[in-house]
Subunit: 223 residues, 2 copies
């Protein structure tokens, strides 16, 4: 599981908590260096491996999302190269939220169906992917997910692949995953106009930055 | 937000992510010392304050849950004393999952309605609380929540108190919180018999340890 400055901690911790309870999975949190990684909130997480000492091959490659930090990684040759190398032999190449923009910038979603956080998912075709609007999208060994909280649904679906459906059902119970969103405004379609307007203001700068980073990434593949 | 060895990272990160996006909240992750805090999975989180240098008063006191680590905190006089002192002046005293067992052990739920992770919530009356089976339970300035993923619902409800309902609706959208639990087995009542049986085996040792710690805590109040 890649970690990087500015990541959204919940993108990582949702599925990590599920994988951690599987019992048959060894998790490493991999970063460029062993320095603490500050998320986009107050949480800072300790890497357990660096790119240099990460196991090879890995079974599951995972990338979570974020905002400015994610755009920086979309432009970072060292991280994109690390992901490309690991993806060659990984059994599953996966993401939550804007993590799919990083996979896409590494060229790893070309020709695949994929999804992302609703605010930027329409840019997936710029990265050679076919956008499918679903909470979790599987295409061959690529599994991409919607924004932030979709990581829990993603984690449980992967859990079923790794340890069977009964164990995944047990984990859904262990996590008491019987969600009660207070407002029912969790997708743009379900949000009232005032909230949609608030969102456009909040996410427009990220959209501009992601689009620009996606166009840059494409240029590199072409050259 | 208290952090301690063996905590369930998702109990913390669910609400922390929401609070972090509010913009008008200053978050500190408080532990006994500045040593990295290892969760019950691979995630280790850096405290930002110690008990000694934590602000006084705090507006919101928060305690997440866990398993063995939580039972250890239920018996730890230094942590219980810290929580009791902070609770005296906090505007909100809150928990997710078995975090309410820690609040309870500190005597902070006596005479309050409260909830907890389903596996141990029936022990709340041992700690002087009245069990209410709900995802989030508010009683005066105590807000307790169900297991692990209930922290997201809790976070959004507190967000509405801190910055209004429209902003909370916006955050529900920003988190793309339109959950799709793959199995619908997130409560004991909804779980099929095979999963219930699996759960009893998995949670019985925790139940025994929590009950014993609750009985010990009561003795201290009496003396």
């Amino acid at each position: 599981m890649l970690i990087y400055p500015g990541m959204t901690a919940l993108d990582l911790v949702g599925p990590e908590q599920v994988f951690g309870y599987l019992g048959n999975v060894h998790i490493e949190l991999v970063a460029k260096t062993k320095d603490l990684v500050r998320s986009d909130t107050a949480v800072s997480i300790q890497p357990t491996k660096t790119f240099a000492d990460c196991a090879d091959p890995v079974d599951i490659l995972f990338v979570g999302g974020g905002a400015e930090g994610t755009v920086a990684v979309m432009k970072d040759a060292e991280t994109l190269d690390f992901l490309s190398r690991k993806a060659k032999t990984a059994k599953l190449v996966t993401s939550v939220c804007t993590g799919s923009m990083i996979l896409g910038a590494a060229g790893l979603l070309r020709g695949y169906k994929a999804t992302s956080h609703w605010s930027v998912r329409d840019f997936l075709p710029l990265l050679g992917a076919e956008l499918v609007v679903n909470r979790v999208v599987e295409d061959r060994n690529r599994i991409t997910s919607g924004g932030i909280t979709a990581g829990i649904d993603f984690g449980l679906r992967v859990a079923a692949q790794l340890r069977g459906e009964d164990y995944a059902r047990f984990l859904e119970l262990a996590l008491e995953y019987d969600p009660q969103p207070p407002y029912g405004t969790g997708t743009p379609e379900k949000a009232p106009p005032a909230v949609q307007k608030m969102s456009r203001g909040a996410f427009d700068p990220l959209r501009t930055a992601v689009r620009e980073a996606a166009l840059e990434a494409r240029k590199k593949w072409a050259s």
